[in-house]
């Protein structure tokens, strides 16, 4: 592998820079821009074992998840993290949510539930992102989708808990669990979405986020 000419190395690497692969001491907190330079210096990903690559991707998803979920006071730090959007986290969370809901569905139509939840998550995220853009926000479409996807994490946890432990418990307790998850999700994502528009339009940008998570919470309680 090291016999390849240097230009070809760079082309192969820069062609797949979505997850920023480079040397094994990759620090996910540095971001994509500084990685481009490192990639030109060292080229190793074709020779490393697959589990290393997967571990690195999972670590990146985990780092973003902790940044988004744990309330931090430095909004600018968060915003910088999320400039490197990726759709792996949202996809994983969406699949988990759809699977939990389709397993816990009462009828034989688990596949229909799966389809509906999947479509609603992605179409809803797209609509909320487009709404942000139409209101004159300056976060890109995919960054909004990324934020909304990562903030699905509490609802996924609630759906999982619902499926495993709370099937035969009073409806009221399920409402409380899902309610807490809904408030946590909305609180995390509204912070990002609302800061990208002018202050007069914050309510306009935040309301669709509430609606999106409310619909998903209702679906979990169904």
């Amino acid at each position: 592998m090291t016999d390849y000419p240097k230009e070809l190395d760079q082309k192969i690497v820069l062609g797949n820079t979505n997850t920023g692969r480079s040397n094994p001491s990759y620090d996910p907190e540095k971001g994509r821009e500084s990685l481009a330079k490192e990639e030109q210096e060292k080229f190793d990903t074709l020779t490393e074992p697959v589990c290393e690559t997967i571990k690195r991707d999972l670590l990146m998803i985990w780092v973003k998840l902790t940044y988004v979920m744990v309330p931090r006071t430095m909004i600018k730090e968060k915003a910088k993290q999320l400039r490197d959007w990726d759709l792996w986290g949202p996809l994983v969370l969406c699949l988990l949510l759809s699977l939990c809901l389709s397993f816990s569905a009462n009828t034989d139509d688990g596949t229909l539930v799966f389809q509906i939840v999947f479509i609603i998550v992605w179409a809803g995220a797209a609509i909320v992102a487009i709404n942000g853009q139409l209101l004159g926000g300056n976060i890109s479409f995919f960054q909004s989708v990324c934020v909304l996807g990562y903030c699905l994490f509490p609802l996924t946890v609630a759906a999982f808990v619902n499926m495993m432990f709370l099937q035969f418990v009073y409806f009221f307790i399920r409402v409380i669990v899902v309610g807490v998850a809904f408030i946590w999700s909305s609180y995390s994502s509204v912070g990002f979405i609302a800061e990208m528009v002018v202050p007069e339009k914050k309510g306009l940008a935040a309301f669709p986020v509430f609606l999106f998570y409310l619909f998903l919470s209702w679906f979990i309680l169904l």
């Binding site: 139409l134 209101l135 300056n138 976060i139 890109s140 995919f142 309510g203 306009l204 309301f207 169904l222």
Partner: protein, 262 residues
């Protein structure tokens, strides 16, 4: 010859200046080079002084629709309340500039609330009237979701198109598709609290709520569109359209009652 030469020079200059004005936007972050160099906290107003997109493809560009979303939260709340209580004469759109934020989210909110409140009312019917162990009817739910969406889409998009088309083809002018769309959108705002009130399984309350909601909605539409109708159409067309709108609203209320809140 002289004028001809001047013309070509001017067009070349225009082309050059247009090329300079076209700033390249980074596809990832949708920021130009300047904006990336000076990242703001996100509180900038979009630049409405830039030239609007032209041509047939303008409907595909977000910049074309941004002019309809130039409202603040207070404006939208005020307009929604005006739509729900149309008993005064203030026009809903000052300066005649319709906004599409309200109608778009009222449409989505209404579809969601019809389905959600319909489900809750079925659950309550099971628990309080039939005394069976409650079971969620999933198949029925999914079909109802899609049908509810289809119904509200018809009322939000097709009916204003019909009104606009009739004014355009049989009248002397038209108030514009965007305006009729916006007004129809706001008129359905009253149905959102109405669906919430429809949850308890009391028949008289349901009929009364639907009647009042339909009446207020029609009152709002007539208040906003009657002037335009009288200005652009002959009297027989105005009465025909008024009857058609009333019948469509009655049909909407009937469908709500018997399909979702039985």
């Amino acid at each position: 010859m002289l004028f001809g030469k001047k013309k070509t020079k001017k067009s070349k200059k225009d082309k050059k200046s247009k090329k300079d004005k076209k700033k390249k936007r980074d596809k990832d972050t949708l920021l130009t080079d300047e904006e990336q160099a000076n990242p703001s906290d996100g509180l900038q107003q979009p630049d409405y002084s830039k030239p609007r997109p032209k041509g047939i493809t303008r409907f595909c560009k977000i910049r074309y629709y941004q002019k309809f979303f130039n409202v603040s939260t207070k404006d939208v709340i005020k307009r929604v309340f005006l739509a729900m209580m149309p008993f005064n004469t203030t026009p809903i759109f000052p300066n005649n500039k319709p906004d599409l934020y309200g109608p778009m989210w009222i449409y989505i909110c209404l579809s969601i609330s019809i389905v959600v409140c319909g489900h809750f009312s079925n659950v309550m019917d099971f628990e309080f009237i039939e005394n069976h162990p409650p079971k969620a009817e999933y198949e029925a739910e999914m079909r109802k979701i899609t049908k509810g969406w289809g119904m509200t889409s018809f009322y939000f998009f097709i009916v204003p198109l019909i009104l606009h088309g009739i004014c355009y083809f049989f009248g002397s002018g038209t108030p514009g598709y965007q305006r009729t769309l916006a007004i129809y959108g706001y008129s359905f705002a009253i149905f959102i609290p109405a669906t919430v009130i429809l949850i308890p399984p009391m028949e008289y309350l349901r009929y009364a709520t639907l009647g009042v909601a339909g009446f207020i909605s029609l009152l709002f539409i007539s208040k906003e569109l009657m002037d335009a109708g009288k200005r652009y159409l002959a009297q027989k067309w105005v009465t025909a359209l008024a009857i058609m709108c009333a019948l469509l609203h009655i049909f909407f209320c009937v469908m709500l009652k018997f399909y979702y809140f039985d």
